[in-house]
Amino acid sequence: MAAKQYKAIGEEAWKNNVEKVNAELFIFTYGSLVVQLVKDFEDYGAVNKQLDKMGYNIGVRLIDDILARTGIDKCADFHTTAEVVAKVGFRVFLNIAPAIANWSADAKEFSLILEDNPLNDFCELPPKAVQEGLWYSNVLCGVIRGALEMMQMQTEVWFVHDVLRGDDVSEIRVKLVKILDEEVPVGDE
C-alpha cells in the first residue's frame, strides 16, 4: 500500500510541481563533462570518484528540493527509504522509477534496477573505459548517498552492473551503514 502511495506522490510531483525541460542538454552536458574529466585525470578510477563526489554535493542540496516539492515525512524504515528513493526521487528528477530488488536478509541492502537511465542515452563507452572500470553514471550513486546522509542515513552506494558495460541491466546497490545520531553534525566523525 505504501508503495502505491509513494508512486502517486512521485507522479503527482512530476506532473504538477516540476518545470520540465528537454533532457538532451542535461545528457549532453553530463557526457561532455565526463569526457573532460577523463582527459583531466587520465584515470577512470579517479573519474568515478570525482563523479561520486559531485553527486554527493548535489544530493545534499537536492534532498531539500524533494522534501519541499513533495512534503514527504521522515521514512520509518529502510524499506520506505528505498520506496521513496526509487519512486519519488528518481521520478521527480529524471522521470524514471527504478525497480527495487535483491533485498539483503538483514534488510540493510537493496538494489535499484534502472531499466531506462537517461544519462545513458546517446552514450557508448570506448572499450578502454569499460576495461578500466569507468562507471559512467556514477554521479547517481553520489546523489543517493548525499541525499540519504542528510536524512541521517550513512550509506554506501555503488554500481554493480551497467548496460553501457555490456551488462543486461543497470543496477545500483545501496547499503545502509548506520543511522547517524541527530545530535552530532552529519559527517562529523
Binding site: 516540476v18 531539500d64 528528477f93 553534525p185
Partner: protein, 250 residues
C-alpha cells in the same frame, strides 16, 4: 532508443532513418526536471576547478623536482589552499550552502584555464545538439540562418524561450541578447552585482561553447564571447572567422 530498428538486419541505413525519425518525433522528446541541470552546473564548474588545480599542482611539483613533492603539499600559497577547500565543496552538516555556488579561487590564471575547459565542454555539447536537432525540413543556407536557428529552435529547446534580440552588422558579427538567461536567473548573492558577475563568469563560457559548437558543425568558424551587464541579462557576440583569418592566425 533504436528499438524501431530491431533484428539482425538493422543496417546502417535503417538505423540512420530510425535516428532521424526519432529526432523528428521527439520535438518534446524525453523530459526531465530542469533543476537537474541547475544542480549539475555548479558541480561541473567546481569539478573543473579542482581538476585544473590538480593538474597545476602536479606540474608545479614536477617543475620543482621530485624532492619538492612533500614540500609542495605543505606550503600551499593562499590561493591554492582556497582551491583545496574547493575539493571538499559541500561540507556535510553545512547544508546552508544551499546554492552550491561558491567563490572562485583568486588565481586568475587558474580561472582562465577553467573557462577554457568549460568552453570546450560546451563546444562538444553544441556539436551534439547540432547533430541531433538540425532542422530536416528546411535548409540552412548561410550563417544568418544558422544563427536564427540557434536563437529560435535551440534556445527554445534548451531554455524554453527564444533569444530576445538579434542584431547583425551583416559583415560577420551577430549579437544575441537574452534578458533573462536561464542559468543566471537564480544566481543571487549578497556581495553586490560585481561579485555576482564575477562568480557567474565561468557559467557564461558554457553557452559560448555551445553556440560555437553548433556553428562549427555547420562549417562556420567563429569566436563567441559573452558579457553580462547585470544578471540575469546576457549578451553573446558571435564573430565569424574566415579561412584566411584562421590561416593568418596560425
Amino acid at each position: 532508443m533504436s528499438n524501431t530498428a530491431t533484428g539482425p538486419v538493422s543496417s546502417a541505413t535503417q538505423l540512420l532513418s530510425a535516428l532521424s525519425l526519432d529526432g523528428r518525433n521527439s520535438a518534446e522528446g524525453r523530459q526531465i526536471n530542469s533543476s537537474a541541470l541547475e544542480f549539475l552546473l555548479p558541480e561541473l564548474v567546481n569539478a573543473l576547478v579542482s581538476t585544473t588545480l590538480r593538474t597545476k599542482q602536479i606540474s608545479e611539483r614536477i617543475a620543482l623536482g621530485l624532492d619538492a613533492q612533500e614540500d609542495a603539499s605543505d606550503k600551499h600559497s593562499p590561493s591554492t589552499e582556497k582551491g583545496q577547500e574547493y575539493n571538499a565543496t559541500t561540507i556535510p552538516g553545512n547544508p546552508s550552502m544551499g546554492s552550491g555556488w561558491l567563490d572562485l579561487p583568486e588565481d586568475e590564471e587558474l580561472v582562465e584555464q577553467v573557462c577554457v575547459k568549460l568552453e570546450m565542454v560546451g563546444f562538444r555539447v553544441g556539436k551534439r545538439i547540432a547533430e541531433r536537432f538540425s532542422p530536416l525540413s528546411r535548409r540552412l543556407t548561410d550563417t544568418l540562418d544558422i544563427v536564427k536557428f540557434i536563437c529560435k529552435d535551440v534556445w527554445t529547446l534548451l531554455f524554453n524561450r527564444q533569444v530576445d534580440n538579434l542584431k547583425t552588422n551583416h559583415r560577420g558579427v551577430y549579437v544575441l541578447q537574452d534578458n533573462k538567461f536561464k542559468w543566471f536567473l537564480r544566481m543571487s548573492g549578497n556581495n553586490g552585482g560585481a561579485a555576482a558577475a564575477r562568480r557567474a563568469q565561468p557559467y557564461i563560457w558554457l553557452p559560448c561553447g555551445i553556440i560555437r559548437g553548433i556553428l562549427d558543425s555547420f562549417g562556420t568558424n567563429t569566436v563567441v564571447i559573452a558579457e553580462t551587464l547585470g544578471l540575469p541579462q546576457c549578451t553573446f557576440q558571435i564573430k565569424v572567422v574566415s579561412e584566411e583569418q584562421m590561416v593568418a592566425r596560425a
